[in-house]
């Protein structure tokens, strides 16, 4: 297949909760190639969020290796991690996480601002991304003036604007009704069709089935079996 984007090997992450050590990720290995649409599915407490923070470079592995497009994430400092998040990863959150005081287009411009792109170019790129998600005419609206589905599209536009190799979506449909969820998933499928690598984290098997590849996480361990999750009935 294509070129390797993510290479995770024997990754471990533990937390100390009141003197007790909890292993959130237990020697996890994952290999993701360019252009994949992969769903990571698991119930709450399975280590799903920890894995997503890890893939999203918000956290560093304790032991094991995480290579993102040739960068050894474990060896980067805070400054370099911020740069990686800015350029390599587009975050899409469950609660959209738009800044309420900024208009749609200003929200989309934000990642470009931290990259130091000239204002004129910021506006142009942000407008293009808003058009790509079908919100070209809502650029000057505040998040509160948009519906949930529209807000999530703005968030997708924001994740796209730096043209990152990976889009990382954490329960992107968790706060939406089923009709809007389908629209959002269609947008993501379309983006995958255009060549974006998408990692979708969810607890919803129905959502996960939209992906081309499904990986299960349970008690801090990853399971993968062809395209279908094993032991589906065990946690649903």
């Amino acid at each position: 297949m294509g070129k390797t984007i993510i290479e995770i090997k024997d990754l471990v992450k533990t937390y100390k909760v009141g003197g007790e050590t909890v292993t959130a990720l237990h020697r996890i290995s994952l290999h993701v190639e360019e252009g994949e649409f992969i769903a990571i599915i698991g119930p709450s407490g399975s280590g799903k969020s920890t894995l997503m923070n890890m893939i999203g470079c918000l956290d560093k592995p304790e032991s094991g290796e995480y290579i993102l497009e040739g960068n050894d994430v474990g060896k980067l400092n805070d400054y370099e991690l911020a740069t990686i998040r800015n350029q390599k990863i587009g975050f899409i959150f469950q609660n959209f996480n738009l800044l309420s005081k900024l208009t749609a287009i200003e929200n989309v411009e934000l990642p470009l601002l931290y990259q130091g792109v000239a204002p004129q170019e910021q506006k142009q790129l942000a407008q293009e991304c808003l058009e790509k998600v079908g919100l070209g005419d809502r650029a000057q609206h505040l998040p509160t003036q948009l519906s949930g589905g529209q807000q999530q599209r703005v968030a997708i536009a924001r994740s796209l604007v730096c043209n990152p190799p990976i889009l990382l979506a954490d329960e992107p449909t968790g706060a939406l009704d089923s009709k809007t969820s389908k629209e959002i998933l269609d947008v993501m499928k379309k983006l995958n069709g255009e060549g974006h690598t998408i990692i979708l984290i969810t607890h919803d098997l129905g959502v996960a089935r939209q992906a081309k590849r499904i990986v299960q996480i349970k008690d801090g361990r990853l399971y993968e079996n062809g395209g279908d999750p094993v032991e589906t009935s065990a946690f649903f």
Binding site: G56, L58, T83, N86, N97, Y114, G116
Partner: protein, 395 residues
Amino acid sequence: MRTEGILLKLLPSFKLAWRNIQTSKLRSFLTMLGIIIGVASVIALVSIGQSSSQSVNASINSLGTNVLSVSVLNSDSSDFTADDVNGLQKVNGVKRVAPVISGRITAKNGTTSSTISVVGTTASYQKIKNIKVANGRFLADIDNELRLKTVVLGSSAASTLFSGENPVGQTVQLNGTSYKVVGVLQSSGSSMGSSGDDTIFVPLRTAEQLTGSNAISSVYVQVQSADQVSFVERQLNYALLSVFHDTDDYSVSNSQDVMDAMSDVQNTMSLLLGSIASISLLVGGIGIMNIMFVSVSERTKEIGIRKAIGAKRKDILVQFLIEAVVLSALGGLIGVGAGFAAIKIYALFASTSVTLSLSVTALSFGFSLIVGVVFGVFPANKASKLNPIQALRYE
């Protein structure tokens, strides 16, 4: 090019800071209030202090140049009379002397009467003290020699007794005796709390009769040139000792000494007022720091989002620092306006002119910016150090 780029990058932070101020107007105003009061009071107090010290200097100058004044501190100990003053006239370097007998008498014109200060003196007094006559003339030597019952009125004494009429040529009753008004003085303004305008002047020898005493209370001595002042001062001290026999009974002071002492007092006052006002600026800064800390915890989620999409520590730090500085700068600007208004209002009520001290305005505005930076750093640093994972989870 480079600085332009940085400014462009900071522009959204300024916009956001402005938007935050607009969305919570009352809170922002209350936050700025400390800075506003601080800047306004520094500007107003120091400007008023400086202007009043200028006007004091001006009025001391108007007392005459190269003038020494002899004050009799203990009038019981000796009879210091006009003859002794004539002795002072002979001291080397003395240009002219003006003895003064002072007292308070009742002045009456028709039914209007008023208790008023009277100064008995000679024609020299006008030349030594730079007195300007508005109408008529000042006392002349002949008034004194012939003990004429003539009187010159200070401007406000004239308006009290004659209420708008021209007093020159009319008579006024002083302690029951008729005096002819020969002149009215121009207003000289008040200096150091005593107004010369409320005084009337009669010839020295007439004053001896009027007040029933021939004891001189003070003497103004004009020296021929500035470099002789200290020499003459010593000579006067020597001459006076032989009259009084005790140095505690009299004092000789020169106008330069008075001026120096007054400007010392004024400078100390300005400094004191300025420092008290600066403390309120500092307190204002603490107010800003407090509200910025609140703002950081309220906006934890926002900080998390910004960090997730690639904001570096310095980006967050600069953003919050800019917000603190925008708050304090805006407070500073409003403070400058308020200070200016306070000066105008003061000038209106005190009916003097106060000039805005530009250096103090710039200084206090600059200080408000520094306060913003200094007290903004701690909250901004706290914001920049937040862990993005925990910040994102914050609701």
